[in-house]
């Protein structure tokens, strides 16, 4: 019965979306789609009697989430605010400083950048067990993993951005007899901003991945990664899903804030301008 209802709702919602899409409702359509998935999920789990240790129903997840808000908040603070954000800030600032040096010295450009490009493609999250051994179980080791993970993509993007000035723009600064620092702050850094934001966004997701995965290698009894492992051990899948909701919310929030900052600071860039029209 519920399975039939699920099928019916799926078809009906899709038909509705076809009509809404033709009307160009850009916000409503994805919302209905997301809602439909959750409703169908609920009906299928209930209708087919799926075991809760395999897939809990959304209502169960929501109830668990509501019941465990203090625990989840503590996990959020431990993993996201301390581990991910702490490492993110350190890694990003370090990458910015190194990028400016690389941009200044051709030797580093030729010697360091091929290595950095190579490193950016590696599964760096594998350093997690080493960092846990060096810096202990608490958030410091997670931040260390995050620092290494975000450093290389951030460096590669920023260096590309600092090089993204035209010969004419550089000549213009020369005709003014501008110093290196004046050129850096008035031309290169503003011109690099779109690239820097691209790096910041990539690094944002990586920082969450690093902080959570590093907890799989050892953590105190708090943190999103720890909670996932512990709840799996007790086969309480509803709690695992609740943690995943927290991680998803944190990721979207982080990304959303960066997008807002990007709009405010690079409003002049063609990619941002076309969105407004």
């Amino acid at each position: 019965m519920m399975v039939l209802a699920a099928l019916f709702i799926w078809v009906a919602a899709w038909a509705l979306n076809v009509r809404l899409a033709a009307m160009g409702r850009t916000l409503l359509v994805p919302l209905i789609f997301g809602l439909t998935i959750i409703v169908v999920w609920q009906l299928l789990v209930r209708g087919l009697g799926v075991d809760r240790v395999i897939l809990p129903a959304p209502t169960e997840v929501a109830a668990t989430f509501a019941d465990n808000i203090p625990t989840l908040w503590a996990d959020f603070v431990q993993t996201i605010l301390k581990g991910a954000l702490g490492g993110y800030l350190m890694g990003v600032i370090a990458a910015l400083v190194v990028a400016v040096l690389v941009d200044r010295y051709g030797f580093l450009q030729r010697g360091l950048m091929p290595i950095a490009n190579f490193m950016a493609a590696l599964p760096i999250v594998g350093v997690a067990p080493i960092m846990v051994m060096w810096f202990g179980f608490d958030w410091q080791s997670k931040a260390a993993v995050v620092v290494i993970m975000v450093f290389f993509p951030m460096l590669v993007n920023t260096v590309a951005g600092l090089a993204d000035t035209t010969a004419m723009q550089r000549d213009l600064m020369r005709t003014y007899g501008a110093s290196y620092l004046q050129t850096l702050f008035r031309l290169r850094l503003p011109a690099a901003l779109p690239f820097i934001f691209n790096g910041l966004k990539i690094a944002a997701t990586l920082s969450l991945v690093g902080a959570i995965v590093a907890e799989f290698f050892g953590s105190p009894t708090v943190g999103l990664g720890f909670r996932i492992n512990a709840s799996l051990g007790q086969l309480s899948l509803d709690m695992v899903w609740a943690v995943i909701v927290v991680a998803a919310l944190a990721g979207s929030l982080f990304y959303g804030l960066l997008t807002l900052a990007e709009r405010a600071l690079t409003f002049w860039h063609p990619s941002q301008r076309s969105q407004r029209h």
């Binding site: 035209t166 004419m168 723009q169 000549d171 213009l172 600064m173 020369r174 005709t175 003014y176 007899g177 501008a178 004046q182 008035r186 031309l187 503003p190 011109a191 901003l193 690079t266 002049w268 860039h269 063609p270 301008r273």
Partner: protein, 269 residues
């Protein structure tokens, strides 16, 4: 400026002086002689156009004056200094082929850019922005962003930027090359008016014969491989030049001479 005395006076006040200037680029296909044995003097207050086909070294010569290229031979001085010293003394404003305004700064902010670098006070910066925007007929556009303006307005703003710090030389590298004919006529007229008001020395690179003849007091015809000067024409046209002067016999005669010079340079090859 026909008498011997006048000419002497001009020589005393020569702003740019190049003698036996050579510039050779080393490329993978062997050396390229961008400039060979170039001799030229530009007097104070002159409007000098450089015209010739691409590769004749007109832009390279302008960049040598600006200290953006280093000659490989010969002498060049600007206001009695080396071009590098002149650049550091902020002796000239440079206008490029494209406006090259920074998109993250407003029009006012773009004009302030050289003023900030040169350390003018805030009050002075604001006062100068207002003044030069009036000069190029852009008063009231201070708070707009470059991408909100038309191509012609952007180029006027870039001229304002070059005027802002009161250098007495203005170097312009095909500033109107990317604009359409109608806008270009209008800007040519405005440029002449501006030149009359400010009495600056202007070096102007173009590949349009009418533009060169209409604007200049002196036309330097150049030809490529190697880049060199084939003719220097002193224009007899009066300082007051309405647009329809382009239909006068004098104008057409000079245009002919320029065209002949260009053709001669071409046959030389």
């Amino acid at each position: 400026m026909d008498t011997e005395q006048d000419k002497n006076k001009m020589r005393e006040q020569s702003v740019v002086k190049a003698s036996a200037l050579d510039l050779t680029f080393q490329t993978n296909d062997g050396p390229v002689h961008a400039l060979k044995d170039v001799n030229l003097e530009i007097g104070k207050g002159e409007f000098v156009s450089f015209i010739g086909p691409s590769g004749c070294g007109k832009t390279t010569f302008l960049r040598c004056i600006a200290g953006l290229e280093q000659p490989t031979g010969g002498e060049i001085s600007v206001n009695g200094m080396t071009p590098d010293e002149a650049r550091k003394a902020r002796a000239y404003g440079y206008v490029f082929q494209a406006a090259g305004l920074y998109p993250w700064r407003t029009i006012g902010g773009n004009i302030k850019l050289p003023l900030e670098i040169m350390g003018f006070s805030k009050a002075e910066q604001n006062e100068r922005v207002t003044r030069v925007l009036e000069l190029v007929d852009l008063a009231g556009f201070e708070k707009k962003y470059p991408w909100q303006l038309s191509g012609g307005m952007q180029q006027r703003a870039s001229i304002a930027r070059a005027l802002a710090f009161d250098a007495d030389i203005l170097l312009m590298d095909e500033p109107f090359g990317a604009l359409d004919e109608i806008v270009r006529d209008h800007l040519n007229e405005q440029l002449l008016a501006l030149w009359a008001r400010t009495e600056k020395t202007i070096g102007f690179v173009t590949h349009s014969i009418p533009e060169a003849v209409y604007l200049s007091t002196k036309i330097v015809v150049m030809s490529p491989r190697p880049g060199r000067i084939t003719d220097v024409i002193d224009s007899p046209l009066p300082k007051e030049r309405p647009l329809d002067i382009r239909d006068s016999p004098e104008f057409i005669e000079i245009a002919h001479r320029v065209r002949d010079g260009l053709r001669a340079g071409h046959i030389d090859e």
